[in-house]
Structures are given as C-alpha cells and as structure tokens.
C-alpha cells in the first residue's frame, strides 16, 4: 500500500520536476514496466471516459451511443507503442543511452498530465456554458502541450541528448512512425495477395483433380 502511494507520488513529482524525475526514473530505478503499463491503461480509460461522459456542449460532434471501445483504445495504444518502437530504432543509431524499456517507461510516465487534467475537465464540461468554453479548451490543450513537453524532456534525459538533438529526434521519430505504418500496411497487403495467390492455385488444382 505504501509502495503504491509512493509510486503515485513519484509520478506526480515527475510531471512538475521532469529533469530530476526522468533521471531518477532511469538511474534510481524508480519506474517499472508494470507501472508504465498501468499508466497507459489508465490513459486509455480516461480517453474513453472523456469521449463518453463529456457534457453535450463540448461533445456534440460525438455520437455517444456508437462509441467503439476497441477503436478508441487502439487510438491510444498504437501511437504509444509506435512512438516507443520508432524512437528506440532511431536512438540506437543516434547514440542514445536509453533501452527500449527505458523509452517505454519514460513515454508512459510523460502521459500522466492527460489523466490528471482530463478527468476533472469531464466534470467542468458539465458546469460551463458555451461562452465559457475557452477555459475548457485552454485546459485540454494545456494537457496536450504539457504531455508533449514531458515526452520531449523524457527523450532528452533518457538518452542524454541536447535539447536540439532531442527535438530533431522527435521529428525523425514521427517520420519513423509513418514508415512503420507504411511497411506494416505493405506487409499486410502482400500477405493478403500471397494468400489469394496460394488460395487460387489450390482451388485450381482441386478443380482439375
């Protein structure tokens, strides 16, 4: 129980003291893959909850009767996984110090602001009217920028990069994510074509037997 409380306190500490936080995360072994997975799952739940429960005024473009849980979850899980993978591939070439494990843990801990801001925002969305929506939009975009900043600093500390190099790495990582998606689609397409090829040959043979 005390361990959990300490972990939670550390994840909150990290969001406001990123340099020390990410350093301890890696070198003091304060984080674990288990905690990282828990945070990612919590972020996924937050996003689904946000889509479903945000007040009508800020959610009217969403058809809350037809939210696809799987699609919403994948919309969080796939980018996190892709980012970790692409970043790891890239930093291995760019003399980064972080392992795949380190990158995953740093990335997942950087997502904490999404949880601590967006959940209260769901409540706020039921209390403000259209004209006061600026507050709501400010805080939600603030959460996104905060998380983005943390991811950047996380990369920087984990790999011991300079700021310029980590910005460059982040941009290249996004390109890398695109490449991975492209290769994956290509792979699936080719597999499908191969399957169709084998399938037709087998059928042809069966017809001629």
């Amino acid at each position: 129980m005390r361990e959990i409380a300490s972990d939670v306190r550390f994840s909150l500490f990290l969001t406001v003291h990123p340099f020390k936080g990410f350093w301890d995360l890696k070198h003091e072994r304060r984080g674990s893959v288990r905690n990282g997975v828990i945070i990612v799952v919590l972020v996924t739940i937050t996003e689904v909850f946000r889509r479903q429960a945000t007040g009508f005024l800020f959610n009217y473009m969403t058809d809350t009767t037809r939210i696809n849980l799987l699609a919403e979850s994948l919309a969080i899980l796939i980018p996190v996984f892709l980012w970790t993978l692409a970043n790891w591939c890239l930093t291995a070439l760019l003399d980064g110090d972080g392992s795949f494990r380190d990158i995953f843990i740093a990335t997942s801990y950087a997502l904490v602001p999404l949880i601590i801001i967006n959940i209260p925002m769901v409540g706020l969305s039921h209390l403000v009217v259209e004209e006061e929506g600026a507050f709501y939009y400010f805080f939600t975009s603030f959460a996104v920028f905060w998380t983005g900043g943390l991811i950047l600093l996380g990369t920087m500390v984990t790999h011991q990069f300079t700021l310029g190099k980590s910005i460059l790495t982040a941009l290249l990582t996004i390109v890398g994510m695109g490449l991975i998606i492209f290769v994956a689609l290509l792979f699936f397409d080719l597999m499908q074509k191969m399957y169709a090829f084998v399938f037709t040959i087998v059928r042809e043979i069966v017809y001629r037997m």
Partner: protein, 499 residues
C-alpha cells in the same frame, strides 16, 4: 374448460386477423405513395419521416382540355390565383383558374400592326396588375401582356456592349420587383441577372455568381505549366436556372448548371450555394445556421458513379418564409424552413403517379404543390397530409410570435415524427421561454443544437446556484469554523505537551 380455451383462441385469432388486415391496409395506403419522405439527422444520415405531401392528381394536356403539352418549362401562379403554364414546345402560354379550367391561351399577339407569334417561351411572370411577362426565348425578347391578353410592351435585346455581341440573346426567365424593374435570366449569360428598368433600358447585372478561387488552386496554378493550366477546369461562374421574387422584394435564385467536376474539384462544396436569396444589391442574404446542414439538397450522396449533387431547377415560396426547391437529378422536392433547415424531402425518378422524369418547375397553388414534368408533359398535383399541414402551421405560428401555440403544434409534429430534430427545437424554444429550463435542455440535446442548449443550461445553472447558494455558503462557513476550532485545540494540546 376446453371449449372456453377454443373460444379464447378464436378471439385471439380474430384479433390477429384484424391486426394483419390493418397492417396490410396500412401498407397498401403507404404503397399508394411511390416515394419515401425523409429528413437528415445531425450526422447527415437520412431518417424516415411521415409523408408531408402525397400525390393527388396527374394533369396531362388531355385532362386539361388543351391537347398534349410539349416540353413545358415553367409554372407560375399569379397573385390572384391563376395558374400560368409555359407550354414551350407548343409555343404558347396556357392560363388556368385554380380549379384547372382553361381561362386563356396566349399564342399570338398584335404588335406594331403585325401578328406576332411566341417561339419556345421558357418563362412566365405575372405582376400584381395581372400583367403577364413572357420570356419569348427563341425570339430573343420579353413580351408584356395586360390583363386582357393584349400585348402592351416588347423588350428586345438590351442595348449594351457587356453582352457577347456574337451570341444570340435568349431570355429564359423573367421576374419584376415592386418598382417594375425587370430581371432577366438569359442563356449563356453568367454575369448574373440582367437588370432592366421599367422602360426596358439596360441598367446592369445583378447578383453575379462570384467565383472564389481557393489557396490550393492558386498554388497549383503557380507551379503548373501553360499546357497544364490550359487543361485545368476553368472556374467560370455558373448561370442561374430560375428566379422567384418574394413579397418583400428578395429574389430567390437557383443554380443548376454547377458541373459535377466543379463540385468534385472544389474543396468546399458549401461555397457553391445552389440556392440564394438576393437583396437589392445582389448580395446573398439566405439565412443558414451554424452547426446545421446548409440547404444544398441531398447530403449523403455517396461516392463514385451516380453520386451527383442535387441540381436545383426551381424554387417555390411558402408560408412563414419556408421554401421548396426542386432537384432535377434525383427528381426530389426539398422543403426548407426560414433557417434553411430541411423539413421534409420526397420524390423520385420513375413512371408511377407521383414520380418524375424531367421535373422542370414547381409552384404552390393554395396549399397544394404543383410540379411540372417536361418529359412526361404533365403536371403532378401534391396535397399536404395532416403532418405536412402541422409542419407549416408550427412554422407560421412561430413566425407570428404565438410561441405557446407553436410549441403545441411542434408537440403534435413530434408525436408523428420522433426523428425530426427541428420539432424538438420548436418545443424547446417554448420551454425556454416558459422557464422550464431543464426540460428545454433535454429538448435541445435531442434537437442537437449546442447554442440553444447552452442558453437553456445557463438559465438552469443560475436557478440552481440561486437555490442552493445559502446552503452551500452555510456549509462552507461551518467547515471553516470547525477547521479553526480543531486547529486551535491541536495547537493548545501541542503547547501543553511541549510545556
């Protein structure tokens, strides 16, 4: 015991039979109407609606007693209730009273001592003096007849260099405003409506269909070679297909010659605005709402072959600033309210009673809708159902500021069609006015109107805050008091232990 059960089953069977008969009859009553009536929900998906209009009669030339019609192009109902039909292929204009009895045929007229003929008249207009204006298309003139059918004026080609001098002048439609200025739509003229003064002198063009090139087009033009540029679709303004003037002098115009390519290539099809309400200076003042689908006809048109946007050929003006447009692509009639929100859409291409082949014109005759078919050469008469009447009634009452009665009418509309979002908005507006804020919130949520919801919610929130403010403040002050006492006591205890 057994007998009793048999009797019971008999009853049940009979009940079942009546039910089946009722269902079949209902289906039969529905099957008389050869089309579906629908509206769009907020996502743009078509949702089923009760019929607002049902076909009542089909009038061919034979039933009207004038021989067969030939490619009729235009219908017009004069302020006194006479129906004018431009029977273009027979080079004549037919005039009927509101019971479709032939009143007059305008075919020849005497002008400057000679007998003149009409040639392919495409448009008619009648002003409040019952003067008839005919767009005598192939003769390149507009002819004015007085109420006895005598020609009193002929307006030929406008004397201006702004019209292409090598092109023939072919007026298609004509409208007049209260000051008797004449507005002419002519074939191949895309600068807008040709405006003539009451003596027929050219005054200028009005309401040009402006082309706004977007940034992407501009970028492409910059990097394209001359040959590529020549091959690009040229964004020329489109011609107007029809014009109708309302009682306050606004001219409703429709555009039909919007090419499919142009729509596909334009990044924002909303810019095309197939129906416009022009004021005196030619600016479009048609009311549309944010977060709502604009009046463009069909919205979910899909992709690929046959996915052509609606092309309006005519518009008719109804009660409470509602208007009805006619789509020639899919043969549909769209009824919009004064905010441009779809109240009902119906019709289809086909050969049954109530379907169209070549819809060319639409007009109101009393509360009936008449649609002219220029391929089947007939007029289809639609009469409103109870549901249709209620729709217009609710709109009219709201326009007349009888909010409570309007809400009652919307309530009845809602009972007949739970899919209609605008009905929820109608009920919600009355609830908002009556102070039932949480009910209004629910109505506006169902109507999918965030701005109205916000207004209702603001009032609701104020009521809640006012009601619970004293309780909340008392609780807060109480908590603070408890906290102070506890802290003081703890401090005293600590001091005692220290001592």
């Amino acid at each position: 015991m057994r007998g009793v059960t048999t009797v019971r089953t008999c009853h049940r069977v009979r009940a079942c039979c009546t039910l089946i008969v009722a269902v079949v009859l209902g289906a039969a009553a529905n099957a008389d109407v050869p089309y579906n009536t629908y509206t769009f929900d907020w996502r743009g998906f078509p949702t089923a609606s009760p019929h607002a209009y049902v076909p009542q009669a089909v009038l061919t030339g034979a039933t009207l007693g004038v021989g067969s019609l030939s490619i009729p192009a235009h219908l017009f109902v004069s302020p006194s209730g006479l129906l004018y039909v431009a029977d273009s292929g027979n080079h004549r204009v037919l005039v009927f009273d509101d019971r479709f009895q032939l009143f007059r045929i305008v075919e020849t007229f005497a002008w400057e001592g000679r007998t003149e003929l009409l040639a392919n008249p495409q448009g008619v207009f009648v002003d409040d003096r019952e003067h008839l204006y005919v767009a005598d298309t192939s003769n390149g003139r507009v002819v004015e007849f007085d109420s006895f059918g005598t020609a009193v004026n002929v307006f030929g080609r406008p004397d201006t260099e702004l019209l292409d001098e090598y092109a023939t002048y072919e007026p298609l439609k004509v409208v007049l405003d209260k000051a008797r200025r004449i507005y002419v739509i002519a074939r191949g003229v895309n600068q807008g409506l040709i405006e003539l003064d009451s003596d027929g002198r050219f005054r200028g063009f009005m309401g040009a269909n402006r082309v706004t090139p977007n940034a992407l087009d501009f970028l492409w033009k910059l990097i394209a070679t001359d040959e590529q540029r020549a091959r690009m679709v040229r964004f020329v303004p489109t011609e107007y297909s029809n014009a109708v003037i309302d009682s306050r002098g606004y001219i409703f115009v429709t555009t039909a010659s919007v090419g499919t390519d142009a729509i596909m290539q334009s990044l924002n099809p909303d810019d095309l605005r197939p129906i416009r309400k022009l004021n005196l200076t030619g600016t479009d003042v048609l009311r549309t709402l944010d977060n709502q689908w604009p009046p463009v006809g069909d919205i979910s048109i899909g992709l690929g072959f046959g996915a052509v946007p609606s092309q309006f050929v005519d518009v008719a003006l109804g009660v409470a600033e509602t208007y009805v447009t006619l789509d020639r692509v899919r043969g549909k009639v769209f009824i919009y309210d004064s905010d441009g929100i779809l109240l009902a859409a119906f019709g289809r291409i086909g050969d049954r009673i109530g379907t169209f082949r070549g819809p060319s014109s639409i007009t109101y005759l009393g509360d009936r809708l008449l649609v002219l078919d220029s391929i089947l050469n007939q007029i289809i008469v639609f009469q409103p159902t109870e549901y249709g009447r209620l729709l217009f009634e609710a709109n009219r009452l709201y326009q007349e500021r009888s909010y409570a009665e309007s809400a009652a009418a919307w309530q009845r509309v809602q009972e007949l069609n739970t899919n209609l979002e605008v009905a929820y908005a109608g009920v919600g507006r009355a609830q908002l006015r009556g102070g039932y804020y949480s009910d209004a919130m629910e109505s506006f949520r169902l109507a999918h109107s965030p701005s109205y919801y916000s207004r209702a919610f603001q009032r609701h929130r104020r009521v809640i805050v006012e009601r619970y403010f004293s309780v909340f403040m008392a609780a807060l002050l109480g908590l603070i008091a408890v906290w102070i006492v506890v802290r003081a006591r703890r401090r005293r205890r600590r001091r005692r232990t220290n001592a």
